[in-house]
Each structure stands twice: as C-alpha cells, then as structure tokens.
C-alpha cells in the first residue's frame, strides 16, 4: 500500500543507532501500519484545512450554487467592519483569562487537597464532576444561576464571568494534573531539604514548584489553545452577547454559517487556524522537549 514510503535508508554499520538496525525494523514494524490512521488524518483533517486556504478567497454561500474566486474581499470586509480584530481580541483575551483562572484554581485545589485523607479523596471526586459534565449543560446551569444578577448582561465584565465559568468546568482536570505532578517529587529530596533546615515554604517553592514544570506546561498549553477553540460554554451562557462582546471566533463561525455565509465562516475558520498555529509551534516544541527529558 505505502511501498513508496519505504525508500531504502542507507545504513552505516559503524554507527548503527538504537537496538536494532533499520533493515530489520522495516520488517518487524512495517510502514503500512501507519496507513489507515494517516489516510483518515489526511482526508478528514488535513484536506479540510487546505480547503480553508482556498474557500476563504471565494464567494461560497448558501444562496447560490456557483463558487467564484474573489481574492481578499472576505478579509477586507471583515477588517473594515471591525469584526476580525474584535473577534481576535476577544478570543485571545478569553483564552488568556481561562488559562490563568483554570491553572490558579487547579493549583490551589491540588495544594489544598494534597494529603491522602478520606475527606480529600471525596472532595477531589466532586471537583471532577464538572469535567465530566457537558459544557453545554454547564453553560445552562450558570445562565440560570447568574441571570438574576445581571452579570451576563454587562458589556465589560461578562467576558470575565464566562471565562470564570469555563475555568470552573476544567479546574478539576488541572487539579488532577498538578496532584500527579506533586506526587512525582521524590520523598528523599524533601527529606534532605528538611535535614538541611529549609523551611516548609522554601522547600515548596525551591524544590517542589520547579518539579511541577511539566504539569504547568501541559495544563497552560491545553487550557490556552483549547479555549481558543471554545464554543459550548459561551454559546450556552451568552450566545456571544451582550452586543457581541463575548463573540469568540467559533461563535462568529457558527452564527455566519447558520446564515448561509459560508465564505465568511471559512475565512474566520482560517483566521482561527492561523492564530492557534502561530501560538502552537512554540508549545508543541515545549511538549516534545519535555518528552525527551522524561
């Protein structure tokens, strides 16, 4: 199937890397095992992404069957009516707020519930419930809870409130990751610090916190980039309002797609892709480096 992928790799016996030479690898771990997964990835993930780069420059819509190229018209339209930069600003702000709150809450809970007591174990279980719940359901619960307060109708502060709700839903996950990170600190290192007379406060910040770095990288990255792709919670609490002040990119895409303005939706989808990709490369680099260290 994928024979063409198996072009012979010159093997130098002098510095044969790893436990087995590549010639044997080719037989014991054949490339065609990659084929089904990569076929699906290419057709249903890569291809639509490439389509984004094409259809963002057309007048594709639900009102006519012909699709014609229009150059940068969609971009200039979105820039000139201010939608593009407003949505970008809101999305970035939302993502940063979610990442900060989710990690602060998660870290606080992990430190609070670190000891393995019965109460703590039950408490941890409770904080996992929102993680399991549907984000849409979480949104409706908070809409009902907060509607009488007017917090969801403020053009300045509603974005903050919605990001707090998003962080509330996912803080249990950050807590679990930080708890697992705290457990990886070897007991003898803490013992040594204690013998050397380090205070508990100092031990915590100089020994345990640095060892949490991989956990921090992971949860900050996933919270930041994940919430840029958010939709459910914002849709269920405000629907992008009031006055479109919480309209993150995916809300815009959903709304314009529903109106049949497919090219505009595609353009914003491309903008979201570029935004995340731009921020993701350093993040993937960090994740992979961490993997090599551990």
């Amino acid at each position: 199937m994928s024979v063409d992928l198996e072009t012979p790799v010159p093997v130098r016996a002098a510095r044969a890397p790893g436990p087995a030479p590549r010639v044997i690898r080719r037989r014991t771990h054949p490339m065609w095992f990659l084929f089904p997964a990569y076929a699906v990835l290419v057709v249903f993930f890569v291809l639509p992404t490439l389509f984004n780069f094409v259809y963002a420059f057309t007048d594709w819509s639900g009102f006519k069957s012909a699709i014609n190229p229009v150059g940068f018209d969609n971009f200039t339209a979105l820039v000139s009516d201010g939608t593009l930069f407003r949505s970008l600003r809101i999305t970035l702000l939302y993502a940063v707020l979610v990442a900060v709150f989710q990690n602060v809450f998660g870290f606080g809970l992990a430190v609070l519930l670190e000891r393995d007591t019965v109460v703590n174990r039950i408490a941890r279980t409770f904080f996992l419930i929102p993680v399991l719940m549907s984000a849409l359901a979480v949104g409706y619960v908070f809409q009902a809870l907060l509607k009488p307060t007017g917090w969801l109708a403020d053009t300045t502060w509603t974005l903050l409130v919605v990001s707090l709700i998003h962080a509330w839903k996912w803080m249990g996950l950050s807590m679990l990751i930080y708890l697992a990170g705290l457990k990886t600190v070897p007991e003898d290192v803490l013992e040594a610090a204690r013998i050397d007379g380090a205070s508990r406060w100092r031990t915590f910040w100089t020994i345990r916190a640095p060892l949490l770095a991989p956990a921090v990288t992971f949860t900050v990255a996933t919270a930041l980039l994940g919430s840029m792709n958010g939709f459910d919670i914002v849709q269920a609490t405000t629907g992008g309002g009031p006055a479109r002040t919480t309209e993150i990119l995916n809300i815009f895409i959903y709304r314009t797609f529903g109106q049949g303005l497919f090219a505009q939706a595609t353009t914003m989808s491309l903008v979201l892709f570029l935004l995340v990709a731009l921020l993701a490369f350093p993040v993937i680099y960090l994740l992979r480096r961490r993997e090599r260290i551990l």
């Binding site: 990835l41 992404t49 389509f51 109460v119 359901a137 993937i284």
Partner: protein, 275 residues
C-alpha cells in the same frame, strides 16, 4: 506549609466548604429546579420545590424531546468512533514509537498536531458533501477520527516507548509476523493507556455539540445537539425545570461510567499529562 498543626485541623473544613460552595450549590440548583413545576422554575433559585415532580419532568422530556432517538444517535456515533480511533491510533503509534528516522519524526509531528490545531469545521462540511457523506453517521465518525486520532497517537506513542522491546523480540524470534506481534503482544500491553484514551474520547465525543452541529445538525440527533435545539427553541425557553431534567438525563450515563471506573478515570485523565 501544609503540616502546621492548626492548618491540619482546619483543612478538612475548608475542603468541605469549598466543595459545598463551588460544586454543591450549582448541582443543588440543577436538582431542585428539575423537580419544580414550570411556574416555580421560571426564576431558578435554591429553594426546594413545593411539590417534587422530578419523575414527571424526566418523563415529559423523555417523550417530548425524543430522547431515545437522540440517545441512539449518540451511541451510533460514540461506539464506532472510540473503537476505530483506538485501533488505528495504536497501530500507527506502535510503528512511530519503534522506528527512528527523520521521516518518522516528521510523520509523528504531523500526527500529533491535531491535538492543538483546530479542525476546519466549515470546509469539512463541503468535503463530506463531495464524498456523499454529508449528514451521515459515517461522515461524523470520520470527522471525529480525524480530530481525535492525534490525541490517541500522542498518548500511545509515549506509552509504547516505555515498554521494553525484548517482549516483542521474543515473539519475533519464534517467527511471529508484525500483525501477530501487534495483536498478541503489543495490544494487551497497551491496556492501561487505551483505557485512558477510551475515557477521554468518550468524554469529548459524548459531550460534543460544535462539530456535530456542522456535520449532522438537523439530519441526525445526538444528545447534546438535542439539548441545544430544545433549549434554544421557543418551546423550552425559560422552562428551566425541563432543561435541567434533560441535563440530568444526559449526564446519567457518564456518571454511571464514572462510578464504576472512578480510579481508572482519574489515572486515565492524568496518565498522559505527567509521566
């Protein structure tokens, strides 16, 4: 810091208070509101219903909103997605973990990029239309596979690297081919990480409404899509008792899974993040 005697005594109370305030209050709101009559539930609050009609509300949602059809739709999509994503993902991950070369590193980077990069939700609809899969369960499954294969590849590749290769070599010396080695030796060893991935993927797909809206919205009902439609339609606007009854119905399967496999869920969720 956490060993001071006073704090040791106080900590359980702080923990209980936080649970009650942060988790208990919203959940209480859901349950009491789901038990109220329509009139009482117009402005949801923490008061008890004057007359509990939780079962009646559940029954009304069950029939009015056509929950059984949506439940079947969800199952029809979640089960094949999870099975396929695990099989295809671990096949690829095994080879990616065991072979080392420049092209493999590139393929791995491409394979895991979907963890972070957002899928092109609008153009995927066009693609499915061209393939004749628009609005079908198969189309939806393929889209989920494209989105979540990267998660599985990331988790499983990391796990395979921790398994000593000698186990495979023993079987290879006995003459077993790659398919046999993968099926009989590797797959059983992957059980912990596959449990992790199952939980994560179930969670994502079961609760997804965004991708489902674009791909199968209006054609095939899933539970979240149905809830979304029901809650935004004029029919249930501000009928919080019915919306929350739906939330309870929809969450029950996940709560059941969680109750049965709680330890697995917890180790699962953390497993990939901090090795």
């Amino acid at each position: 810091m956490s060993d001071l005697p006073l704090w040791r005594r106080l900590q359980p109370f702080v923990a209980v208070l936080l649970v009650a305030g942060l988790i208990g209050a919203p959940l209480w709101l859901v349950v009491v509101t789901a038990g109220k009559s329509q009139g009482e539930a117009i402005d949801p609050d923490f008061s008890l219903p004057s007359h509990w009609q939780l079962l009646g509300n559940l029954r009304q949602v069950w029939t009015d909103a056509d929950v059984p059809a949506a439940f079947l739709g969800s199952m029809l999509i979640v089960v094949p997605t999870v099975v396929l994503v695990l099989v295809l993902g671990s096949m690829a991950a095994w080879v990616l973990a065991r072979r080392t070369s420049r092209p493999i590193a590139v393929l791995y980077a491409v394979g895991i990029s979907g963890i972070i990069l957002p899928p092109a939700v609008v153009t995927v609809v066009l693609l499915l239309r061209q393939l004749g899969l628009a609005g079908t369960a198969i189309g939806m499954i393929c889209v989920y596979l494209g989105i979540y294969l990267s998660t599985v590849i990331f988790f499983v590749t990391g796990f395979v690297r921790t398994i000593p290769e000698s186990l495979e070599e023993a079987a290879q010396i006995d003459g077993a081919g790659p398919v046999l080695v993968f099926r009989r030796i590797v797959l059983p060893l992957l059980r912990p990480v596959l449990a992790t991935a199952t939980i994560l993927i179930c969670l994502y797909v079961w609760n997804d409404v965004f991708y489902a809206f674009f791909v199968v919205g209006g054609r095939l009902d899933t539970l979240p899509l149905n809830l979304f439609r029901v809650a935004s339609a004029g029919l249930y606007l501000n009928n919080w008792n019915l919306i929350f009854a739906y939330v309870i119905l929809m969450s029950l399967p996940l709560v059941a899974v969680f109750a049965v496999a709680q330890r697995k869920v917890i180790s699962g969720i953390t497993g990939g993040a901090v090795k």
